[in-house]
Symmetry: C2
Subunit: 409 residues, 2 copies
């Protein structure tokens, strides 16, 4: 745990703040952000692919034609024009929605926080994939739940494990999942598992929170049905434009039934009054020109697919003897498992020393697992940098393996 | 309480969600937003005064010169360039600050939420002015405190009441105050009261949360020292550019000591990862041109001063026999007290019917007080609309008084 300065407020913090500790790898990531380090850590979209001139033109149009609105406070639910566009985006994945059932949030991250605030009492059980999106663990974690980790394989969540837990008497307040090209594992829940999960949760009256940031970043094959489509009544669906447009506009959303929507709006207003009218209007305009947004998205998907291919090839070339990894059909991430005797957290300093960075696996588990795993992101670095980074990582793992064997391991 | 739809999630909400209920006047405010209604309710800044062309030029510059940054994720603390500008703004009010001690938030509202999240355990006592900013009551309220209302007079918080409460054994987790041109009462804490409050809280080891959205909107006279200046170690200071620039950029901040800052950054990242790089860069650029921002602010202050004068004159003309009110030296609000037999909440429907709207006083108390009070905002409507609105309100109160007397009241 990182050190905090001597603290005259130390007796004043709420119990929930005890869990708010700086990650031990935080300082290392500051080093890893230097340009000479090839970072396979951060999940930053490749915003350089956005047509800068057109985004600038949108900003100009919004400010010139709607300046008084753009620079003013907005409503807590978000503008209706934007919500209509978000409904259109969801229809791309066959999710049927009414704009009245959508709440605009500051990225899907704020939706996670508001859902946590609305549903989690201290001690409540929240079922999550293991590994799970670290931002969900921290957002929910602030409300002091107990996490119930459900393991995954190449077909996503092992629903049978959840079923066993329910039979043991666990009563999760909700189940949280990233079913498409998940973060960090890059795997996608199979159609069978989806139907199994939805049926189980409906029978047990356990809501599902479906987080789908990557669904439209599909590299190949056919999409699986969204959980929300399989059971609209029991699934709260979260989306974001951070990956299809820009994280700089901070636009995400929650789709839920009216009773939940009304409470989410109140929670949103308590949290920050409203999102930015300026960036909401820009987002609405971006998604109003179908040729433009589709063209840009297709270009992004092509770029990410190539980078994924390069990363998988490089892994095959440099890490085949030391590691196994997932084969994502979309999204941003490859999940790598190394031998048990390696500790990826301890190894990170040496990796950064060799000018390559990743995220240690432990970050993605609520229970300390994952020391022999790491997340690699292929979304941001160029293909050359990915090749070089994986090569550096391979050399490091080889050297570690040699050292281990030389010590009689 | 407004009705929620029939709710299959009703058994699932957290205890803290029980307090998240739609205000009973919410539906009325939807009606009041129609253009034919003169709204003296909303605290919307007069953003029409912003030089639209220059704001547009800033957006263009930011996107053309820093597009890759503007459209990308940012850091949880907010960009250093913006934090330096915010330090400059605080220096305008003699608040001495280091950019490292500043956390950028989505308006000051998010700072209130994060402070609440960090400090408030259920049942904790939070001392607030009575009346207090309604957004603080809802932000803190989500963390289930017990509020300790401290009354105010024309010199701000009656610090003696707080002292009495401490002597009775109350131990507030913190004291929350808007000392300059407060919302809703429009009064300013006197220098003596400030020194008294700071000394009392220091002695009792109770942190102060000083919320200062309106300090730079001073119409006359000399500023009082900020509480933060009087005791930098024991005061968490909150600011916003919503009133000096634009609420549409959603930029506020907290200034605190490092131990608090580090936790606020973690809480911010859990809440929404980061603020918008685009709007942070725009805000930084806005406050980089001194002649521009000072000129615009002077113009805004002149406009608000004239509107305040018009409202006070109109109140004198139309409400002198029915009401008393505060005389704000800055900010957005006049606080009106009507006879005890009137209920401003019950009266709002009739007011909206006559095409004028205000905020009933009960919204600003945690304990149901304020039925004979109302908040009037002079920030947004034109002078003519303010005159007409107060005239309509005066006629309504006269008619109510006549009815009351005719019924033998």
């Amino acid at each position: 745990m990182a050190e905090f300065s001597i603290d005259r407020f130390v007796d004043r913090y709420a119990a929930r703040a005890a869990g708010m500790t700086a990650s031990e790898v935080r300082a290392l990531f500051a080093v890893a952000s230097r340009p000479e380090v090839i970072s396979l850590a951060g999940g930053m979209p490749f915003v350089q692919a956005l047509p800068e001139e057109q985004v600038t033109a949108i900003a100009r149009t919004v400010l010139e034609e709607h300046g008084d609105v753009a620079l003013q406070y907005g409503g807590g639910q978000g503008s209706i024009g934007l919500r209509e566009r978000l409904v259109m985006l969801m229809a791309e994945e066959d999710v049927n929605a009414d704009p009245d059932d959508v709440v605009v949030t500051a990225g899907a991250q704020q939706a996670l926080d508001l859902v946590g605030k609305l549903f989690i009492d201290p001690g409540d059980v929240i079922a999550v994939e293991a590994p799970a999106y670290v931002g969900a663990l921290t957002a929910f974690g602030a409300y002091q739940p107990r996490f119930l980790p459900i393991e995954i394989d190449d077909d996503g969540m092992l629903v049978e494990q959840l079923e066993q837990a329910l039979l043991r008497g666990e009563r999760p307040t909700f189940v949280y999942t990233v079913p498409n090209f998940g973060n960090p594992a890059g795997v996608t829940m199979s159609a069978d598992r989806r139907r199994q999960l939805v049926a189980l949760c409906r029978e047990a009256s356990i809501p599902i929170v479906e987080d789908n940031p990557y669904g439209l970043l599909r590299f190949e094959g056919e999409p699986e049905p969204c959980l929300r489509t399989l059971d609209p009544e029991n699934v709260i669906y979260l989306g974001t434009v951070s990956k299809t447009f820009s994280p700089g506009v901070r636009v995400g959303w929650a789709l839920a039934e009216q009773s939940v929507v009304q409470r989410l709006v109140l929670a949103k207003e308590a949290a920050d009054l409203c999102s930015s009218n300026l960036t909401m209007l820009m987002t609405e305009h971006w998604f109003s020109d179908e040729a433009r947004w589709r063209g840009t998205l297709t270009g992004l998907v092509d770029t990410y697919r190539s980078r994924r291919d390069v990363m998988l090839d490089a892994l095959e070339e440099h890490l085949a003897t030391e590691a196994t990894w997932t084969h994502p059909g979309g999204g941003f991430y490859v999940w790598v498992t190394v031998p048990d005797w390696l500790d990826t957290k301890a190894l990170l300093a040496a990796a950064v020393e060799r000018q390559v960075a990743y995220v240690p696996g432990t970050a993605f588990y609520p229970d300390g697992r994952g020391a022999n795993q790491m997340r690699l992101a292929f979304c941001y670095p160029t293909e050359d940098r990915i090749r070089d980074g994986i090569s550096l990582l391979g050399a490091l793992l080889h050297d570690e393996a040699e050292l281990y064997r030389s010590l009689g391991g």
